[in-house]
């Protein structure tokens, strides 16, 4: 077990965070400090989230008022909204880029990137990541990917618009839609950079967790977020390369005339020369990443909420081992369920049956996690900090979205629900709401650690309640559109008689979405204002046990001045009977808490147990255990 690894090859002064040696560029831009990189990921993620949310408001406006002109749209969008109405092609571009940004840039990089970078070294007791340089590269690849993706809004033919899953031939044949030209090329380049970024990040997270834990921090003493980040990183490392393989083949098909995904295609009356490929191949490659990807999105959120719920319930997380095993179960199972996205693609129905079985099994570890959250709240002493509110919101969304997943995972029900609004509602509850709430819970909880300031709690409350209510108002009614057979990615509901009855619902949903978007102003203001003007954070504002709260509030390179603290106990000793406070940090040895030690704490160490027994017999005797 690696211990006090002084990871300090690059000549930074420990005790001094000062400006003598660090220039503006090395401190704020090309920083190799994991805390700064975490902030970079977070702020980039927030900016991307705001952009993607803005895109969603644009297409919600189109859906709610398909027959009205909005001159301000033309002001912003120019020829894509001539006469104040969004064009069908641009509508598809909006949903595509909204999905891509949210799934990859916000919920993968913004969530996993931010909190893995911030918390892994701080919670396991390491000076920095295993490879700070790789970590820096990871951010800059991600940033470049964002820039390239956004740049596609500034080209003649517009951004990629074949949906975020970019199914060929639509995305490959440039004639099929304008977005499949240059916009799609940029999408692919951006995605390759993004995957490179994820891999560099993931390798770093795994090696840091495996090699750089402080003394005493064995795997079963790691806080749950670390477990979640660890398994998420493994998922990413194993699945993202498959996407790159798929993307490379797509680049070949698009630019070099190969036929991996194309065969028997006639555009109008033009017969394309491609033969022998299969569009289904892309779907397999894409979803081999794509499904683990949704767990890459939700697992860090679950890890964060486990920590937040435990800290603020003042109770140990219920079933710590079960939580870890269910995460492991989800990790393993998520590799063999990708076919449930393809039940009706014409894949062999036999496979559909198999994938249905594996898919529904994954509901079991998810159910275990939910019940464990509920059991953690039971008889707790719940402090409703903004982070806790969001964590409770996450549990609610995770339940709602998880249950609708049982419909979609069932191949025979999926026949009629596939690619309808039911799917949209489902994954917006689990990813768009639950994962985002996990991310927000993390921001509110660790903001003091990131910036050394407190966020305004009351604005946090306002932000939570508005967002929580609005998210349900947006996504709950959408299920019913899906059950009525309304397909997703429809530019307008005006062409089908049966869809017209949903126009009023669309107006309602759009207003709810606007409300949700405006509620984020409360967050953005709070976030940026508090960075500069917030109250200075105390050492351990939430009275939490984990290691990051033992590091000084003032950021220093290397995290702890002097020696890295040693860990003696698991991170969830909250409200332990016999102890005078309701929390015992991981750094407190059992010798200092003789009155509250339990036989279980010693993990079969006979000597320690004996010392404890002796102490209990002769109560006031002061003893030290070895």
């Amino acid at each position: 077990m690696s211990t006090i690894a002084l990871h300090d090859e690059h000549n930074h002064d420990h005790a001094d965070h000062g400006h003598h040696k660090e220039t503006l560029i090395s401190k704020y831009i090309f920083s190799m400090d994991h805390k700064m990189i975490a902030k970079q990921f977070l702020i980039t993620g927030i900016i991307m989230a705001v952009i993607a949310m803005g895109l969603s408001i644009l297409f919600r406006i189109q859906l709610a008022w398909p027959d009205q002109n909005f001159p301000f749209l033309e002001t912003f969008l120019g020829k894509w909204a001539e006469g104040g109405r969004i064009k069908p092609d641009f509508y598809l571009a909006l949903v595509t880029i909204h999905g891509t940004i949210m799934v990859f840039f916000v919920l993968t990089a913004g969530l996993s990137g931010t909190f893995s970078n911030l918390l892994i070294p701080l919670q396991i007791g390491a000076r920095d990541m295993a490879s700070p340089f790789l970590n820096m590269l990871s951010y800059w690849f991600f940033f470049t990917a964002c820039v390239i993706m956004m740049s596609s809004f500034f080209i003649q033919t517009g951004p990629a618009s074949g949906g975020w899953t970019v199914y060929p031939p639509l995305s490959v044949v440039a004639k099929a839609m304008p977005g499949s030209g240059m916009g799609m090329t940029l999408w692919l380049i951006s995605m390759v950079l993004f995957v490179a970024s994820s891999l560099m990040g993931g390798i770093n997270y795994v090696s840091t967790i495996l090699n750089m834990r402080t003394k005493g921090m064995d795997l079963w003493k790691m806080p749950l977020p670390i477990w979640a980040f660890f398994l998420t990183a493994i998922l990413g490392i194993l699945s993202f390369p498959v996407l790159v393989a798929g993307v490379v083949l797509m680049v070949f098909d698009r630019s070099f005339g190969t036929s991996f995904y194309l065969s028997d295609i006639v555009m109008g009356t033009t017969i394309l020369p491609n033969e022998g490929g299969s569009p289904i191949l892309w779907q397999h490659l894409f979803w081999f990443l794509g499904h683990p990807e949704v767990y890459i999105v939700i697992m860090p959120a679950l890890g964060i909420s486990s920590e937040v719920i435990s800290v603020n319930s003042r109770k140990p997380i219920f079933g710590y081992h079960a939580m870890v095993y269910s995460l492991i179960g989800i990790t393993v199972l998520s590799f063999i369920v990708w076919g449930h996205h393809m039940f009706v693609t014409g894949m062999n129905p036999l496979l559909g049956g198999v994938f249905m079985i594996t898919t529904l099994i994954i509901a079991v570890p998810s159910a275990v996690k939910t019940f464990n959250y509920l059991a953690t709240l039971w008889r707790g002493n719940i402090r409703f900090t903004p982070a806790m509110l969001f964590a409770i919101g996450l549990v609610s969304f995770f339940i709602s979205g998880g249950l609708t997943g049982i419909f979609l995972g069932n191949a025979s029900l999926d026949i009629n629900l596939h690619d309808t609004y039911f799917v949209v509602a489902h994954f917006h509850l689990v990813m768009g709401s639950a994962a985002i709430f996990g991310m927000l819970a993390g921001v509110y909880h660790w903001f003091p650690r990131m910036f050394g300031k407190m966020m305004n709690a009351k604005l946090g409350y306002l932000h939570f309640w508005l967002t929580f209510i609005a998210a349900y108002l947006v996504f709950f009614p959408l299920h019913f559109l899906g059950l009525d057979g309304v397909p997703r990615r429809y530019y307008a509901f005006t062409e089908f008689e049966f869809m017209k009855k949903w126009l009023t619902v669309n107006v309602f949903v759009t207003w709810a979405a606007i409300m949700a978007a405006l509620a984020q102003v409360a967050f953005l203001f709070n976030f940026f204002y508090s960075i500069f003007k917030g109250k200075v954070a105390p050492q351990n504002p939430w009275e939490a046990n984990t290691l990051e709260w033992t590091a000084p509030v003032e950021h220093i390179h290397g995290n702890w001045p002097g020696e890295i603290p040693t860990v003696y106990r698991w991170p969830y000793d909250y409200s332990k009977p016999g102890h005078d406070e309701d929390f015992i940090p991981q750094t407190v040895p059992f010798s200092q808490t003789m009155s509250s030690n339990l036989p279980h704490d010693f993990e079969g160490n006979a000597e320690a147990e004996k010392i404890q027994q002796d102490w209990e017999l002769a109560n006031p005797v002061e003893e030290n255990k070895g």
Partner: protein
């Protein structure tokens, strides 16, 4: 930076907050101001005005919130200064809000189930669709029970176990028995759902063909943004096609060297005899589309370069459905459910389910794909391929076919 100055200069708090909000939305605000100034001179139109109107409302709301925030702060500070306990017990507020949310939320769910729930698709109009509906109802009942129970627990616990300085939480790290129970029970319930789903799925996609009761073959070809339908003609077999044969006159690329193709008929709507099994052969010319007939619970993607098959039996005629739904305009429809380009949202075709007799009269009136132009092209004698087509199709030239196809393209 002016923002900082304002605050440090102790300008009134409300003003500071207002300005901050203004700075946040400065782009909008400037536009709003410009619009407001221009309003008397130029007619900006109702909608533009309304944009400003909403921005102003938003700013007003922000101001209102800021004032409330500040007054809460003043209240709390004054309590503190007087040495009284903390003004607002936020834990209690949130606990109550969660309880309220639970009650309102449950009512909202009830409202959704009854109001929006009654706006859904009518009962399935196909044999396998009934099984899907049963499966759906079972899943809905189970998930609704779990949904309500877990939410009562979640928000109930949030309410009951809100923070109190007098209490200490119960140290309860694990209980293996309980954990086993709530691993096994969901596993059992899911096993039931998986088994039922699996059997339903098999019954839909693995059908044993009865040689005496062959399903009606219909080929559907999708392209941006229309559906083309091909009936098999008298031989009951849809002939082969080859995309390389696609021309302006042979848009589907039908291979008329294949005898089975020569009597294949075109149709501008899909007409199905009620109670007869139908085997759909789904193909695509350009990109992936999804053939979706929600009323029959039928959906399958159409994939270029690959045939997909869906077999089903319609059980209700259009007329019966019109009665059942109380809607004289009711029509079965085909939609596209897979993103396929700018016209994705309007890729429809009407399906008419009729009695067997009606179907026979209708199908007799349909024209074959093979016309004189195509006969020449395939070196076939320019003579009627099938006797029944002789009456009209040879008389009219290909122009008639073309108009028909244009109607098809609609």
């Amino acid at each position: 930076m002016s923002l900082r100055k304002f605050i440090t200069n102790k300008t009134t708090a409300a003003l500071a907050v207002l300005l901050t909000v203004f700075a946040n939305t400065s782009a909008f605000a400037q536009e709003a101001a410009a619009g407001a100034a221009a309003a008397p001179k130029v007619d900006m139109g109702e909608i533009y005005k309304s944009v400003i109107f909403y921005i102003l409302i938003f700013l007003a709301v922000c101001l209102f919130i800021a004032i409330i925030g500040k007054s809460i702060k003043v209240y709390e500070l004054s309590r503190e200064a007087q040495g009284k306990p903390v003004g607002i017990n936020w834990n209690r507020v949130h606990a109550s809000l969660f309880a309220l949310f639970l009650v309102l939320g449950l009512y909202g769910v009830y409202w959704e189930y009854t109001v929006h729930g009654s706006m859904l698709l009518p009962a399935a109009a196909s044999e396998h669709g009934k099984k899907i509906d049963e499966m759906f109802n079972l899943t809905l009942i189970i998930t609704t029970i779990v949904f309500i129970a877990t939410h009562i627990l979640l928000f109930g616990f949030s309410y009951i176990y809100r923070y109190s300085a007098k209490r200490k939480a119960y140290y309860y790290p694990h209980n293996n028995t309980i954990e086993k129970i709530w691993t096994i029970v969901p596993a059992l319930v899911l096993t039931v759902l998986v088994l039922m789903g699996f059997l339903t799925w098999r019954s839909i996609f693995f059908k044993v063909e009865d040689p005496n009761h062959k399903p009606l073959q219909i080929e559907v070809t999708s392209e941006q943004f229309k559906w083309s339908i091909r009936y098999p003609g008298a031989d009951g077999i849809v002939g082969t096609k080859n995309y390389k044969l696609t021309t302006a006159t042979n848009q589907l690329g039908i291979d008329f060297k294949d005898i089975n193709s020569r009597d294949d008929e075109m149709a501008d709507e899909m007409v199905l005899p009620v109670g007869k099994p139908v085997k759909l052969i789904l193909t695509s010319k350009d990109v992936i589309h999804s053939f979706y007939m929600p009323h029959f619970r039928v959906q399958l993607n159409t994939v270029p370069g690959m045939k997909t098959f869906f077999e089903f039996t319609p059980t209700k005629t259009t007329a019966e459905m019109q009665q059942e739904t109380n809607d004289p305009n009711f029509k079965f429809i085909i939609l596209c459910a897979k993103i396929c380009g700018s016209g994705h949202y309007n890729m429809q075709k009407v399906v008419r389910v009729v009695s067997d007799a009606e179907y026979k009269t209708w199908i007799a009136e349909q024209k074959t794909y093979l016309n004189d132009d195509l006969r020449k092209q395939f070196n076939l004698p320019v003579a009627p391929a099938a006797p029944k087509a002789a009456s009209d199709s040879t008389a009219k030239d290909s122009a008639a076919v073309k108009t028909n196809q244009m109607a098809l393209n609609k």
